[in-house]
């Protein structure tokens, strides 16, 4: 199976090279058969990558310990669930997994648009094949996952060997999130390849209009959705598994995942400027380019270990390949831009500082500043070494100082932006739209201040959260009211109807609401507390309203590990509340230990209890307890964000039945005679 898999990879490489070279020839000659054959080569590349990936999974499931990769990341006792995840536990498998996910996207694009957009698709195919060639080069020639175990034989030849059992999967990865977090994040990273390919193709082909934006909107949103989910799942994994009480440490790998998210978010917003007003064309194209470049940079940071990080397990030569690829992409983008930049002339100018356009402009500006700050902070050791000779690292204070005000400003714009009119907003409409939310926000701020909370940033954050939530609720209320008057349905039904009629707009509001919840959770971090204490059975510690009593500790052998468990009873006001079982797991196969955090999570706060180890002299267990307010809101907000994105991806329901009496504008005539742009149709519906 290993030979089969590596052969499939090699064939995939050949097909990709053909799709690339033949594709260029097809663009030049316009020969229909050549166009068709290169498209099919692209499809074949994807299928061969699928085959290779499945054969690697097969090696895991058949416990094939003659394969070096399987030996390194699996063993017989490993649960089936984690044998799937073992695929991306190491360098080689992760890179194959990248190719695999990219292949899913490429396959879908090539199939979905096989008879459409004839002008654009050959270019798209060539660009996608180019990206695939890079990753297939790594898969085939630099980091092949199909290497067999070997020892130097007597006569100088390599002898193949097989082991009875593998080394097992590192315990840090034996956690359910680790099965879903990497696929999500990688789907985000790879997904941005599609908008990138379309943007570059449109530029190269001088493809008219904003059609590439309409074509790629859903792909961008899918990628963005995966990226968001991936980042949050990663944060949740760090929180629940690493046992240090936090979810975000500004670690280089975490930052790497945030970077394309920042530019991707900026892109999702600024495309609206191009769709509605024909502005920001150069900006948008460069945002997509940078998002893709940052995805590759992120993969590079994760995989190469260039910036030391706990996550980056591998230190390898793979870095130079990535640097080369990044340079190539950048040059291609630059040349394409310089050659065809007249195609990107703006059709309009900014009119007023209080307008939708300017809110998008500022949104983009600060997302970009944040991105620049995070990039420079992450790469600071590398940059400072190159510039001054001494390697300097910057830590959390640097990132927090810049990003907290940015986050708050963004939150403010989340509330304000969607309610400002295009071009110019009148004072009347400002009053009408913002009087109530402003009052709600101020009132919330005053109440929270009166309750004794004095952390400035948190206070501002809570007030803004209430303000934004009020603007969103008001939008739904107003829209639903109009429908309710005409249809007589309940407010809830009307709100759902409203959302379904303009999924893009109201889905967007739901995403914003999710972000508000996430911000509430983040603001809670200012009030975190923790205690660490050596405990003997019967002794207790107090943290906030909780009293923790260690009842006993035991050790329990399991299939793959031995669990050392503390039985901690939690009391509130001297009434027993529940038992918590923080645990340390000792994995026999590699002698490692893993921490199992016990969390009692409520909307108000998380009680987070860690078995921090044994005191060296007394051999008594050390208990470390954290009280983290509002953390649950972050995860809940994440779910809402994903839900909102899915809503925004739905097609609009036509408002025929309910609004039968109201004349509907002919949708097709709205945007350059192309695909109807839903948000135009209903945008002014109730303003």
């Amino acid at each position: 199976m290993d030979v089969f898999g590596s052969f499939a990879l090699l064939l995939a490489f050949i097909c990709a090279v053909y799709a690339f070279g033949g594709g260029i020839a097809a663009i030049l000659t316009r020969h229909p058969l050549l166009v068709k054959s290169t498209r099919q080569a692209g499809i074949a590349t994807c299928c061969l990558i699928f085959i290779a990936t499945f054969s690697l999974e097969y090696l895991f499931f058949s416990d094939n310990f003659a394969s070096a990769y399987v030996v390194s990341h699996s063993n017989r006792a490993l649960a089936t669930f984690y044998k799937i995840a073992a695929l991306w536990a190491g360098q080689e498998g992760s890179l194959l997994f990248w190719s695999f996910l990219l292949a899913i996207y490429v396959f879908s694009v090539l199939i979905a648009y096989r008879n459409k957009n004839g002008e654009l698709m050959p270019y798209v195919g060539v660009i996608l094949a180019g990206v695939q060639i890079f990753f297939l080069t790594l898969n085939n020639f630099v980091a092949s996952p199909f290497k067999a175990l070997g020892v130097a034989g007597a006569n100088g030849a390599m002898d193949l060997v097989a082991r009875a059992d593998g080394n097992g999967l590192t315990p840090l990865l034996q956690y359910p999130e680790m099965v879903i977090h990497p696929p999500n994040l990688y789907s985000g990273y790879t997904g941005f390849t599609i908008p990138f390919a379309f943007a570059l193709a449109a530029l190269l082909a001088r493809y008219p209009g904003e059609k590439w934006i309409h074509l790629t909107r859903k792909w961008t949103m899918i990628a963005w959705c995966f990226q968001t989910a991936g980042i949050l799942l990663g944060a949740h994994w760090a929180y629940a598994v690493l046992g240090w009480g936090g979810y975000w440490g500004w670690d280089p790998v975490e930052n790497a995942s945030l970077l394309p998210w920042l530019t991707g978010t900026a892109f999702l917003h600024s495309v609206m400027m191009q769709e509605k007003r024909g502005m920001m064309k150069v900006w948008n194209v460069w945002l997509v380019f940078s998002t893709f470049i940052l995805c590759i940079l992120g993969t590079f940071l994760t995989r190469s270990g260039v910036v030391s990080s706990v996550h980056a397990f591998a230190q390898s030569s793979i870095g130079s390949w990535f640097v080369g690829f990044l340079i190539v992409i950048f040059l291609v983008c630059l040349v394409a831009y310089l050659k065809n930049r007249d195609y990107l002339k703006s059709e309009n100018q900014l009119d007023a500082i209080v307008s939708r356009e300017s809110s998008f402009l500022f949104n983009n500006l600060i997302l970009l500043v944040s991105c620049v700050a995070v990039v420079s902070g992450t790469l600071f050791p590398v940059l400072s070494e190159a510039l001054s000779g001494s390697k300097i690292n910057v830590g959390a204070p640097f990132f927090n100082k810049v990003n907290i005000p940015i986050g708050l400003f963004l939150l403010f714009l989340t509330g304000v932006g969607p309610l400002l009119a295009w071009r110019k907003t009148s004072v009347e409409s400002l009053k009408r739209n913002f009087a109530w939310p402003l009052m709600v926000g101020l009132l919330a701020g005053v109440v929270i201040f009166a309750l004794g909370y004095r952390e400035v940033y948190s206070l501002i954050c809570f007030a803004l959260c209430f303000f934004v939530a009020a603007t969103i609720v008001m939008e739904f209320y107003r829209g639903a009211k109009v429908i309710r008057v005409r249809s007589g349905a309940s407010y809830l039904t009307s709100a759902i109807e409203l959302t379904m009629r303009n999924t893009r707009r109201y889905g967007g509001y739901i995403v914003h609401m999710g972000m508000v919840l996430i911000f509430i959770g983040l603001a809670g971090a200012a009030f975190n507390k923790n205690v660490q204490k050596e405990m003997q059975p019967g002794s207790s510690m107090q943290l906030g309203k909780y009293k923790l009593v260690l009842q006993s500790f035991d050790s329990k052998p399991e299939a793959n590990y031995t669990g050392l468990r503390l039985n901690v009873e939690v009391f509130v006001d001297n009434k027993p509340l529940m038992m918590l079982y923080p645990e340390r797991r000792i994995f026999e196969t590699n002698g490692e230990t893993g921490t199992m955090v016990a969390i009692y999570s409520t909307l108000r706060e998380d009680l987070y209890v860690v078995y921090a180890g044994q005191s060296p002299e007394t051999k008594l267990p050390v208990l470390h307890a954290y009280l983290n307010p509002l953390v649950k809101w972050i995860w809940f907000g994440g779910v809402i964000v994903v839900f909102g994105t899915l809503v925004a991806l739905l097609p609009n329901r036509r408002a025929v039945l309910v609004l039968s009496g109201v004349p509907q504008p002919a949708q097709e005539s709205l945007v350059h005679g192309m695909t109807p742009s839903p948000s135009v149709t209903y945008r002014e519906g109730h303003e």
Partner: protein, 139 residues
């Protein structure tokens, strides 16, 4: 033109104030990377910087005391005695021969670390000539 000037001022104010915050944060958190060998050649002012040093934990050197953990980091043939005084428990991956990154300041011949990060040693890579070879075959 006037409108664009307004935007220019707005953008300028935002960028400058965020730049100022970044500079503050930089001053507060900058840490110098040094190798163990370099550490022994540092002089004067350089020794007061907050710094990060990476190395391999010398086998058998980890000693735990109340409120601190002592161990020896090795790298490039040199060794560095370290006292960890941080409040957080040491990571699970911190064991003999693991690669560790310590953050703190050198004091009286020892390195006093407030943060210790540990990376798993390369034990996941297949050891050549595996311990239990059940079958061998010529390629």
């Amino acid at each position: 033109m006037k409108k664009q000037a307004k935007f220019g001022i707005g953008i300028g104010v935002i960028v400058i104030s965020l730049g100022f915050l970044a500079w503050l944060g930089y001053g507060e958190s900058k840490t110098y990377y040094h190798t163990i060998a370099e550490l022994q050649t540092l002089q004067g002012n350089e020794l007061t910087h907050r710094m990060r040093v990476g190395g391999t934990v010398a086998p058998g050197s980890i000693r735990r005391f109340t409120g601190r953990v002592d161990f020896v980091l090795e790298g490039e043939g040199k060794s560095l005695p370290v006292s960890y005084v941080g409040a957080d428990p040491l990571p699970d991956t911190f064991v003999d021969k693991s690669q560790a990154l310590v953050e703190g300041r050198p004091t009286d011949g020892r390195f006093v670390a407030e943060v210790v990060q540990a990376k798993c040693a390369s034990k996941y890579e297949a050891a050549p000539g595996g311990t239990v070879a059940t079958s061998t075959a010529k390629p």
